[in-house]
Symmetry: C2
Subunit: 408 residues, 2 copies
Amino acid sequence: MLKKIPGGVCAAKGFRAAGIHVGVKTHNTQKKDLALIVSDVMCTAAAVFTTNVVQAAPIHVTKAHLADGHAKAIVVNSGNANACAPQGEENAERMCAAAAAAIGCEAGDVVVASTGVIGQTIKVDVIEAGMPALSELLEASEAASDAAAHAIMTTDTVKKEIALETEVGGRTVRIGGIAKGSGMIHPNMGTMLCFITTDCAISPAMIREALLETAAVSFNRISVDGDTSTNDTCCVLANGLAGNAEITEKNDDYYAFLEALQTLGVDLAKKMAKDGEGAKHLITCTVRGAKSEKSAEVISKSVISSTLTKAAIFGCDANWGRVLCAMGYSGETFDPEKVDVSFASAAGEVAVCEQGRGLPFDEDLAKKVLSEDEVEINIQMAEGDGACTCWGCDITYDYIKINGDYRT
Amino acid sequence: MLKKIPGGVCAAKGFRAAGIHVGVKTHNTQKKDLALIVSDVMCTAAAVFTTNVVQAAPIHVTKAHLADGHAKAIVVNSGNANACAPQGEENAERMCAAAAAAIGCEAGDVVVASTGVIGQTIKVDVIEAGMPALSELLEASEAASDAAAHAIMTTDTVKKEIALETEVGGRTVRIGGIAKGSGMIHPNMGTMLCFITTDCAISPAMIREALLETAAVSFNRISVDGDTSTNDTCCVLANGLAGNAEITEKNDDYYAFLEALQTLGVDLAKKMAKDGEGAKHLITCTVRGAKSEKSAEVISKSVISSTLTKAAIFGCDANWGRVLCAMGYSGETFDPEKVDVSFASAAGEVAVCEQGRGLPFDEDLAKKVLSEDEVEINIQMAEGDGACTCWGCDITYDYIKINGDYRT
């Protein structure tokens, strides 16, 4: 019943979006840097944030604005993170006030997010000056979601967008999302921004619960470089216009909605991992037979976060010893003599390690398997029935290039 | 009183060493791959090992051989880690037996270590065949320590060696060490091997305690790539030939010896960090004003381990936001609004962040400061009086190159 549809954050009833260049990004005036997402009616809303002790000003402001569980709009800029910067909260509040004035709502009902360089004062004046033009562009269309998706990008090379349709309580419910995230990505919300809109009717408590259950199996299971950003924010707005009976408990309707939200979350998370800065490979690591799901997750994350494993995949080198090594320093205990490892992709599968020992394998086939864009590392243990999949990417010359000179 | 002297592991009385090529490294017959260090008399001995759950066979064998707190020789090969490989322990035992036969001692008094690729059967036959020739070369000379230091290298570009002289209980005591370690290096003993010899008379319990106190402030405070190897070993042999009264408790003699051992450990640790695979910069991060020394260590390690900070230093980019960010996800709690950061080197010092906010600074000076081989990140917090220094290196194109195709 769950199916992909076009429209991104404008797919659900009653949502409009827009994105333009106002001048936060000074290097390239072609690149959009301000996005707005607006619901026609008040929404229940929830958000999850970075676990970093250093949190950007917009996060403090958004937390305050979402304290009542409601919001009507989201304003986001790229090019400046408004983190560790002078007048951070004041400027984040000014962004909300400008958006509120342009669309006609309370500043307290606006969610704000920023992404970009840390430590520099954000040019709030150009944001304020551009807001009326931005709000003029608001529309419920594929093109509008596309513009918003582009306006939140930094080093991303492709926009991340998806929309899904499902049925909740006999009504058609739509859910759409846009995301950005390319570097500084690590489990527990590395620099990623994700904005989700849905017309599902759902209570503040339940939308919050569904978002937590989604982040746990999607955004928190990807890693690009192990750095957890100061700005990560994932926010969902639900305006109820689908007309379903409001979800207020964990009933069948909740799980139907959750399935859609988790599918959307995993899709956007994989897109972020695949577009990791400089990445050439999406790495999917599945661990089975672990003590528990949590243990499988810790081990899988350790593998996808291992710089040496990432470098091996970049070199299409079936260096499974690094996989075992990364499992070994994950912090989980297990019997290394009961571990099987194989690499797989569209080009085939090659078993490289059985019971903790190397297998003779076809090096040419292994090279071919690892030369595909999307590769899998499959690990079978013998500790229990815990399983988990995490996603990462390889580390490349381009990652170094991008990050050796990001600021200047 | 503590002074540097030549001679490496042959500086202390009664130690001889040698290193040759026997054929474990098949790609290059010029590169030495087998080292031997021998004491004329039985030594008290201690070792610390990787915390990785997956431990190489030589570690299991060395643990058994050191159970009695004594050893007389160390045999080490490079080119193959003998980890996750068939007949691992059997082959490690055969290396000890071959060394013992060549020098005339019990196999149980030989320490064994291996470094190199994981998962392939070690060519123990070429090691056995080469052992008589190796033992013929044993000598107490600078050249002999140099040969041993080269024979344990893998991707290292320079040998790591040091010797010190101090006074313990009125006697001249010498202590020397060689080490290897370039990639897969992370706090808690990443692929590093370190062998230390001393003529100090010290009990097994006290040599073990001194080694633990040394590892904690040296080898466990460096990081190259966050990967903790399966093979790390740091072993010290003390043969007592200096003639000092045996150290059996934490008295003045113990602390005089500990000072020398820690100075040696920090020197070799810094050499390993500086020679990190592909590295162009040694990064020294000092945190002051933390809640405790432990808290300062966790924060400092988080900074030197941050891939984004490492990439910024590679680019000579004073991107202090990444430093704050890495502090923030360290797991320690602190007030980010009370953090000062500066970068320093032989070219000068530049303050970039005060009380959690960016300072205007001279970008040209910052570039110049960060262009030096050795750079410092100095962090002042306001949580207490805990301080700690950790060492790391930048991440470069060469790191990716080296590790994208290490195995094949």
